[in-house]
């Protein structure tokens, strides 16, 4: 199998990695780059645990051919906040009890971020649509939806200033 150089922007930094044509983005992130924050729950695009943002849109990294990412911008959970400077979504998820086992959390937060990046006044229906592809078996989604709304409010206030 012939490997190819994949160049892309990951969490704001340009990088190049050698990948095989059959590799998927999630395997490149987790196995090659050691970014295990992106989880793999099904490998078939059916659970959303592997959700990352690609060129501004939420995608299932387990069904994205790695080479399709050429020159693209990818954001993962590792790139959106730091312990001392959490993303408002991370903060709300923590504060409002939206995290239980945590396995869906990174994908859930990335789906929510893709929404809030373009819409700071989402309705509950908007939020449900954005996260309907992210299965959570622990929370019943209620506190997750509350956390997304709360984060949107926080971000809006910040933007209004």
């Amino acid at each position: 199998m012939q490997k190819k150089v994949l160049q892309f922007k990951l969490n704001g930094e340009s990088l190049a990695v050698l990948v095989s044509p059959a590799d998927t983005l999630v395997d490149v992130l987790r196995d090659q780059l050691g970014l295990t924050g992106t989880k793999k729950g099904c490998g078939k695009g059916e659970c959303g645990a592997c959700t990352v943002i690609m060129n501004g849109k939420s995608v299932n990294s387990c069904i994205i051919p790695a080479l399709q990412v050429m020159d693209a911008e990818i954001e993962t959970i590792e790139g959106i906040g730091k312990p001392e400077k959490l993303h408002p979504l991370q903060e709300s998820f923590i504060d409002l009890g939206a995290i239980q086992c945590g396995f869906c959390t990174p994908g859930m937060i990335m789906s929510a971020k893709a929404l809030l990046d373009i819409n700071l006044s989402p309705t509950t229906a908007d939020i449900k649509e954005a996260i309907a592809g992210n299965i959570c078996r622990c929370t019943g989604y209620t506190k997750i939806e509350e956390a997304v709304l709360a984060a949107a409010d926080k971000m809006k206030i910040k933007e209004d200033r």
Binding site: M1, Q2, K4, S20, P21, A22, T24, G43, K44, G45, E46, G48, T51, M54, K57, S58, V59, N60, I63, I64, P65, L67, Q68, M70, S111, E129, A130, A132, G133, N134, I135
Partner: protein, 287 residues
């Protein structure tokens, strides 16, 4: 065994690569299904030709009354498009009910057709719209109705190892025309439909000038309810008429038993309800 992956920048380049591999390369767009099939060993190719970067395939436009959707246009783009919402709202609804947002952000409308699944939501809507695809291959450009692209469940008559489907196009809805897409599924996302029905119709005064009713999955491919269409054609709309059209549609269907998505009996009976609702909705839109 997959050896190469080419991000084509033009249709010509894609065709060139296909030619070089002589049947061992395959076109992909979003690749959501192809990659799964490759990994499951259901498909074997040497090279994937990715057309998502081909600028001309990203088009989504109205060309003299024809809506043209390029092969790299995703379900999300179609769903959000003002052009589609005003000229083919049923397609916006159909694309909007595929899988999940993440899937819709990568999977394409053309891919939905070429995947040739009997209940592919966008394809069902496209058949109702009378859509045809634009095909390019070494011999030139040809057009074929979406309805004629099926060669069995999961099999398309398009040879993706030698041909590139560049777009799908259909006439924009005009005033007096209405459409609908009605779907019955076991849950609100990440679910294939138990039934889906697309209707496009044209009203002239009180009469139905013409109508296309497409139902799935009640046959190996999206099925035109021709008898039901005949029942309606040229008639003044009444509740009884809609009801007998729905019954006729039902009689034309031959759904299969699915242990997961409902028995043939259930689907056949409820199809009548779904067709009726779809007709009512399309009529309301037309009026």
């Amino acid at each position: 065994m997959l050896k190469d992956y080419v991000l084509a920048t033009s249709v010509a380049e894609a065709l060139e690569v296909l030619k070089t591999y002589d049947g061992k390369a395959r076109v992909i767009a979003g690749g959501t299904d192809v990659l799964l099939d490759l990994n499951a060993g259901k498909l074997s190719v040497d090279c994937l030709v990715d057309v998502t970067r081909v600028a001309e395939l990203k088009k989504l436009e109205n060309m003299a009354g024809q809506i043209v959707i390029g092969a790299a246009v995703t379900h999300s783009e179609v769903k959000k498009s003002d052009l589609i919402q005003s000229n083919a709202p049923l397609l916006a609804d159909a694309s909007g009910s595929v899988g999940s947002l993440q899937i819709r952000n990568t999977a394409t409308v053309v891919g939905n057709v070429l995947n040739a699944q009997p209940a592919a939501d966008a394809a069902v809507a496209l058949v109702a719209l009378g859509a045809e695809v634009e095909i390019q291959d070494p011999s030139g450009t040809t057009y074929r109705p979406v309805q004629e692209l099926y060669a069995g469940v999961g099999k398309t008559t398009i040879d993706c190892t030698r041909q590139v489907v560049t777009a799908v196009k259909f006439p924009a809805l005009k005033p007096g025309q209405g459409s609908s897409f009605v779907r019955l599924a076991q849950r609100g996302a990440l679910a294939l439909p138990m039934l889906n029905v697309a209707v496009v119709l044209s009203l002239q005064e009180e009469k139905i000038e013409w109508v296309r009713i497409v139902m799935a999955p009640v046959a190996p491919q999206p099925l035109r309810a021709s008898m039901a269409e005949k029942v309606l054609q040229g008639q003044v709309v009444t509740t009884e008429l809609i009801s007998s059209a729905a019954k006729a549609a039902c009689a034309e269907s031959s759904p299969r038993d699915s242990a997961i998505r409902g028995s043939a009996e259930y689907r056949k009976e409820v199809l009548e309800v779904i067709v009726r609702r779809a007709l009512e909705k399309a009529l309301a839109a037309a009026q």
